[in-house]
Symmetry: C2
Subunit: 217 residues, 2 copies
């Protein structure tokens, strides 16, 4: 038993029924351990949630920065950033959902810390959009609303994307980049051609079919 298994079990339950609705005995059962053992790995139920959200947001920030660094112009940077955002959300839908929905379950102090990480991530989008607005590559009536719209529609991917569904991850990425380009009125000539889009690592906390709860034999 290691802490990643505990986190995966927790994310699976938190994503499905929420933090408050999940008891520690249920968490233990899902992870295959006694509820008391859980406190040997994580300080408390709350600390467990902090770990999950913190690791998720930090991975998003790191991945977002990497995506930005692979491109030069705001136009191609936007493509990389959105493609990463979509990839991360589609690869870690349950963890991302917990990080989004359960912020309110945190203590005020922890929530403030996590909110700062969230702001840090959103700042990446703000920077790219502002840069592109200055160079004239982007055109929109309101930069803030454009950022909110672009981010929100990407986040929504977690609600419906399925690994073996009608659309491949790359198709979804390309389509969302295209929609963002349209929102920002990027000229056809400015669009990068055939640039490889970034993928996203699966977080240790993201539960998968391979990580099903171990039951008695």
């Amino acid at each position: 038993m290691d802490i990643d298994q505990v986190q995966r079990a927790a994310v699976a339950r938190f994503a499905q029924q929420g933090f408050a609705a999940t008891g520690i005995r249920e968490l233990g059962t899902a992870a295959g351990i006694n509820s008391a053992t859980l406190y040997h790995y994580v300080g408390s139920k709350h600390d467990l949630l902090v770990r999950i959200i913190s690791e998720c947001l930090k991975a998003m920030i790191t991945g977002g920065r990497e995506a930005l660094s692979t491109a030069q112009t705001p136009t191609s940077q936007l493509a990389q950033l959105i493609a990463f955002h979509v990839a991360f959300t589609a690869t870690n839908p349950q963890t991302a959902r917990v990080a989004e929905y359960e912020m309110r379950a945190l203590t005020p102090v922890s929530r403030e810390e996590m909110q700062q990480l969230r702001d840090e991530y959103e700042a990446l989008f703000t920077k790219v959009l502002t840069d592109g607005d200055k160079t004239g590559e982007f055109s929109t009536a309101d930069l803030t609303m454009a950022r909110l719209a672009v981010m929100e529609m990407g986040t929504g991917v977690a609600h419906w994307y399925r690994p073996h569904g009608r659309l491949s991850l790359e198709q979804v990425q390309q389509n969302f980049v295209a929609m963002a380009y349209r929102i920002l009125a990027v000229r056809e000539t400015a669009k990068p051609s055939n640039t490889p889009l970034p993928s996203a690592q699966q977080l240790p906390s993201e539960p998968t079919a391979q990580h099903v709860t171990q039951t008695v034999n």
Copy 2:
């Protein structure tokens, strides 16, 4: 004391800390009544949630249909529908949030019923987009993804819109219609000019500053 006050108090707490994290004694205190009295108005905590979500979704369906009926072409229908969606979300942010987040707290039977209402509302968007695609007014690589993106970015308005903020509701509506038009590549000549956009009624369940919890004098 009437049932709307109970619902408003419940929505305020559910939106802030979630259904599972809110106790019935807390609900009673917020509504200014004893927890037992709450059972005189609503059958149970769960029934209260069902009422809230059901009334919200039914209002969305009704409002969405009305919005559609005021326009003829898919292009202007889309504007009306999106403008309503944004108006409803901005006018009833807390109720809308509860209806979105707390679906998972419902029993399987109730969740199925509410999901059907949700599907009914989403079908309005599907219909408009399909019609516009047939007439050639819209152009997109994937109709389903376009619908998901357009709806999701509109729903996100609940997260940041404030009645007396930088942007008026009408400005937000116009901007989101414009972004949707861009996503769907609506031609400039096809856009309706100066059409009045729909507003949305405030639900009886939506808590406002006028509905603050009554305290002892």
